[in-house]
């Protein structure tokens, strides 16, 4: 990403992390990815009544090159999946994904061949937002929870260590085939 990635272990990072986190969360620009009904609520959130300009997020960017946050608002069809991935790939790091509504999160009530069963099959999702569609308050709540995560995000070696730990955890968890009966 920048200088912080090239620094040796631990130097400067804790305070730099806080500053970088504060700056990042305060200027999170969403990419428009309205796919269905959730997009209406997302637009409402952008309007004066809910006004996410209060959180420095008023600029919805049509160009992925200038966006940090992709709000996937709506069900992702199998045909849309590669497009979604391409937009994601075109966004510069650091970037985040918010799965808005149950369809983006898991396929929701559309458990069928046409719909991707959760956008996390295509891109890594940082925050899942239930609701069908979620109210603007719920979206703002999700964004604020994401802000907290961004604030606490690690940099450099700390980040790499964190990623390695998460990978270990994921490998140790049982496969879906082994899960019987219960929902997980």
């Amino acid at each position: 990403m920048g200088l912080e990635e090239k620094l040796p272990s631990g130097v400067l990072l804790t305070s730099v992390e806080k500053v970088a986190g504060y700056a990042r969360k305060g200027s999170l620009w969403p990419a428009t990815f309205g796919l269905a009904c959730c997009a209406i609520e997302m637009m409402a959130t952008g309007g004066p009544r809910y006004d996410i300009a209060r959180f420095g997020m008023e600029v919805f960017r049509a160009s992925p090159r200038q966006a940090d946050l992709m709000i996937v608002a709506g069900r992702v069809s199998q045909k849309m999946a590669p497009v979604l991935r391409q937009i994601y790939d075109q966004m510069p790091n650091p970037k985040w994904v918010l799965a808005m509504g149950v369809c983006a999160s898991s396929g929701g009530m559309f458990n069928n061949y046409a719909i991707v069963q959760g956008v996390d099959h295509v891109v890594p999702v940082d925050i899942y937002l239930p609701g069908c569609p979620p109210r603007p308050e719920m979206l703002i709540d999700a964004i604020l929870k994401l802000h907290d995560e961004i604030q606490d995000m690690k940099l450099g070696v700390n980040r790499r260590r964190q990623i390695a730990e998460l990978e270990e955890l994921a490998l140790a968890s049982p496969s879906t085939l082994e899960m019987k009966g219960l929902m997980r």
Partner: protein, 191 residues
């Protein structure tokens, strides 16, 4: 009357707006105002009878009604020593997958004992799918004063029909004593 210059008219709008009430909802700062309506469909809740026994009988009708297949229930039999609900059956496993749930409320309509209702809680976003599957312990209603945590026997001298008819007003001390006796018996048998 000569027409006002366009630019002045434009600023007029701005000027007038200064005196208007701000429409922006101040979420989350003023969180007492939210959610906006009492009938808002939020997170579910599994209710209890007045004496603390669970209302859920594990009949799975909510799971059947669910259009998104978001509910998983597994029933089990109330035994003499472990009673969670009046009657024969209780919901041993109760899971709602909030990454599937569309908050339509059909489960509430399907519930024959009014065990499942919806609260106004809406701040559900989470960073992983597994934590969005709420278990029975996450969904059960809190214990109110006068309630006794199950398992415990029904109020002495009553049947499940009395519970359904709403004749139970609260836990009685006999229930606690009876359960303690049962627990002792069980521990004697196991030891």
């Amino acid at each position: 009357m000569p027409e006002m210059p366009q630019v002045v008219r434009g600023f007029g709008v701005t000027f007038n707006t200064i005196f208007k009430k701000v429409v922006t909802e101040q979420y989350p700062e003023d969180s007492t105002k939210y959610p906006p309506k009492p009938r808002f469909h939020g997170r579910h809740q599994l209710n209890r009878w007045a004496d603390g026994l669970e209302k859920c009988i594990g009949c799975e009708l909510c799971a059947w009604a669910c259009p998104a297949d978001a509910i998983f229930v597994e029933g089990a039999e109330n035994s003499e020593t472990e009673r969670f609900s009046p009657g024969e059956r209780y919901g041993r496993v109760y899971q709602i997958n909030y990454v599937r749930c569309i908050f339509c409320g059909l489960c509430i309509e399907a519930c024959p004992t009014r065990a499942l209702t919806m609260t106004n809680e809406f701040e559900l976003a989470d960073n992983n799918r597994a934590d969005l599957i709420y278990e029975k312990k996450d969904l059960l209603a809190p214990m109110l004063p006068g309630m006794l945590a199950p398992p415990h026997p029904m109020v002495p001298g009553t049947t499940d029909t009395d519970y359904y008819a709403g004749k139970i007003t609260g836990a009685v001390p006999e229930q606690l004593i009876e359960q303690e006796l049962l627990d002792e018996e069980v521990s004697e048998v196991t030891s």
